[in-house]
């Protein structure tokens, strides 16, 4: 039985299609990543799956239950770490976990033990009695991950769990998540903007853009769909007609894209072919001002599917009458 299954899920805000006929499945025990530019609809999708937002049309099943007809069943089986920080600032970490455990009706003794265990694991045991208001972003995030796991969920939803964290905290967070998943065989549904993170942790990745899923596969297969295994980027002193064609003629060069004075070359085995490329450019009498070579990453896949331009985002209406107060990430 799939952990998550959606059928033609659509969410419309006014004229804006935040989700447009989204259909996919996440298998049990899978680590599933959802990537997409800002405003693509990731949070909207997670909110529908976690039963706090109604879709305009379409269906979704989570942990075997329909989110529309059996939301309370679903809520018992999922853990959620929202994009925005949602731990209670006026409570201590210990109280936050304890209250949350009570919401899930975990018996007292088991709950108190679990709270201590989780605090220990996320490294907050020492600060467990301090108000969350005094925490740093990383501490708060760790607390929220612990909170999402207090009732042993079958599926954990993480909406950009590492956003705004420094590299150390990000490493810690991913470590934690990996550990929990191994221990309890939890299905993980996550969104992130950090491609390397997605690439290393996810079994499968869906790329979503303007509410539509534009690609869905394992990270390796997604990369294979792009020609070549490496990328060489060159900044040239000038561009002459025919450069692109003669570079393409080199065996192993798969794709050449010119953008102003920048040439981006997708190729197999870049280290090997670099001399040939430099030789070829000599024929045209253009100098190489800068050169870089790297392996193809998920980011290339991402940019290929979602383009380079910043999306025209439909923005949410805020009240000019009352004022929005804090900027909210919705």
């Amino acid at each position: 039985m799939p952990s998550v299954e959606t059928g033609n899920l659509t969410k419309i805000y006014g004229k804006n299609r935040a989700l447009d006929n989204v259909s996919f499945q996440v298998e049990d025990g899978e680590i599933f990543g959802l990537l997409g530019p800002n405003g693509a609809g990731k949070t909207t999708l997670i909110r529908i799956l976690t039963t706090i937002l109604l879709p305009t049309s379409g269906s979704a099943r989570v942990a075997g239950y329909d989110v529309l007809s059996h939301p309370s069943r679903v809520r018992r089986l999922i853990g959620v770490v929202s994009q925005a920080m949602t731990s209670d600032l006026d409570l201590t970490a210990r109280e936050n976990l304890n209250v949350y455990g009570q919401f899930f009706e975990i018996p007292k003794r088991e709950r108190l033990e679990k709270v201590e265990y989780l605090l220990d694991i996320v490294g907050l045991l020492e600060h467990g009695n301090e108000l969350v208001a005094s925490y740093s972003g990383g501490m708060r995030r760790r607390l929220e991950i612990a909170r999402g796991l207090i009732h042993k969920p079958r599926i954990l939803f993480l909406d950009e769990p590492t956003i705004g964290l420094d590299p150390q905290s990000r490493l810690v967070v991913w470590d934690l998540i990996r550990r929990f998943i191994k221990e309890d065989n939890i299905t993980l549904f996550l969104t992130t903007h950090y491609m390397e993170e997605a690439e290393t942790i996810c079994n499968r990745i869906a790329i979503i853009d303007s509410g539509k899923i534009v690609a869905l596969d394992s990270p390796e297969r997604l990369k294979q769909e792009i020609p070549g295994s490496d990328v060489i980027e060159l900044r040239l002193s000038g561009i002459t007609n025919g450069i692109a064609d003669s570079l393409l003629a080199i065996p192993g060069v798969r794709e050449v894209a010119l953008n102003g004075l920048i040439a981006k070359i997708n190729l197999d085995n870049g280290a090997h072919l670099l001399p040939a490329i430099i030789d070829e450019l000599r024929k045209y009498d253009v100098a190489i001002e800068d050169i870089s070579m790297r392996q193809l990453t998920l980011e290339d896949v991402f940019i290929r599917y979602t383009g380079k331009s910043i999306r025209d985002e439909e923005i949410k209406k805020v009240s000019y009458f009352i004022g929005a107060g804090v900027p909210r990430r919705m």
Binding site: R47, T86, D88, Q102, F103, V326
Partner: protein, 370 residues
């Protein structure tokens, strides 16, 4: 367990940030001090209708005494009418603050010492003026007996209310019930649904919407924690304002219990009302603006500072559905008249129905999703 978790969480948060509680206590107190000292409470020219069905010598004496009040302290203005039913009907409609009816055979009964009865009917909604009319008429009656009859006549019975109640209530003291109800209002506005609005504002509510909490857990949890705080606030204000205005009479345990029960009922009603009105708000600024507005709408037409009967008609109609008006009336009866359930039965019935209705609506209309 889930509901209790919410209650405990809320109380903990409030006691960590006691500012709101302190303000809710101080505001009604300051109001009492300021209004009590600026508005001077002597009521004048309250219309009283007099029906003389006796036309005997003692009836004339009563009329003279009443006229003396009209001419002297000017508390009342006397109108005459011959039909007692019309007079009572007019009082019920609020045209007169009271009707003094001298029944047939009154003089005869006084002379024969047969327990003469005077009838004083008052608009029981219009408590301040009723009290004033009551007190002045009652003060006049002893003269009737003392100066002219040596026989002891039980003329206290005719007055509808018992003698202890005639103790003069000064204006500051008469404000206390209103001030207590204002404390309930302040408490209901700054606890209960307010916590939900703050959670929304801070984005915290998303975290409990994804848990198994149902509508009832959330709404009742918030309302019960609000109820505990609001009751506490109102009881403190009741005690402090009673002391401040020097009412400290001993009302008897059962009356105190009834006062607290009334505070609880009123708090529940107002907490539920706030939940309905503000249940979708997501910004504390809305509460600020709306709260001030609501306070004016509910408090001033409640009869707390000015008799309802003196309101224009449309405002009187509003007073009939204003829970604070019933609460003020009931509290006033309990404080100044003792624990007579009959006097506040209709208030209790209204408040109970109101509270049931608003709580039901609050739970049903609560939006469980974003």
């Amino acid at each position: 367990m889930r509901t209790i978790a919410i209650i405990k969480r809320d109380l903990k948060k409030f006691f960590r940030n006691p500012l709101i509680i302190i303000v809710s206590i101080l505001m009604p107190m300051i109001y009492l001090i300021v209004v009590g000292n600026t508005v001077q409470g002597e009521l004048k020219n309250l219309p009283v209708v007099l029906v003389d069905m006796d036309r005997g010598p003692y009836a004339t004496r009563v009329i003279e005494l009443v006229r003396a009040i009209e001419a002297g302290p000017k508390t009342i203005r006397v109108f005459y009418m011959s039909n007692p039913e019309r007079a009572i009907e007019d009082v019920k409609q609020g045209k007169y603050a009271g009707a003094l009816i001298i029944p047939e055979g009154f003089s005869r009964d006084v002379i024969r010492s047969q327990g003469a009865e005077l009838g004083l009917f008052m608009d029981n909604i219009d408590i301040i003026s009723a009290n004033a009319v009551h007190a002045s008429v009652l003060a006049a009656v002893p003269f009737l007996t003392k100066e002219h009859i040596s026989v002891r006549v039980d003329t206290t019975r005719p007055i509808l209310k018992s003698v202890e109640l005639s103790r003069k209530i000064d204006y500051d003291q008469s404000l206390v019930p209103g001030v207590v109800v204002m404390a309930v209002f302040m408490g209901a506005l700054s606890t209960g649904v307010f916590n939900l609005i703050m959670d929304r504002f801070l984005g915290i509510h998303e975290s409990y919407l994804v848990t198994p909490l149902n509508k009832m857990d959330i709404v009742l949890g918030l309302i019960v924690s609000g109820l505990i705080l609001t009751t506490g606030i109102a009881v403190i204000v009741f005690a402090a304002s009673s002391m401040l205005t020097g009412i400290f009479m001993f009302l008897g345990l059962s009356t105190y219990i009834m006062i607290i029960a009334l505070i609880i009922l009123t708090s529940l009603g107002l907490l539920g009302l706030m939940f309905i009105l503000l249940g979708r708000a997501d910004h504390p600024r809305i509460v600020g603006v709306f709260g001030g507005f609501l306070n004016v709408i509910l408090f001033f037409p409640s009869g707390a500072i000015y008799p309802v009967a003196s309101f224009p008609g449309w405002l009187q109609v509003f007073a009939k559905v204003n829970p604070e008006a019933y609460a003020v009336h009931a509290l006033r009866s309990l404080m100044f008249r003792g624990g007579d359930i009959a006097a506040i039965r209709s208030d209790l019935i209204f408040l109970a129905l109101f509270t049931t209705a608003v709580l039901t609506i609050a739970i049903v209309t609560f939006k469980r999703r974003l």
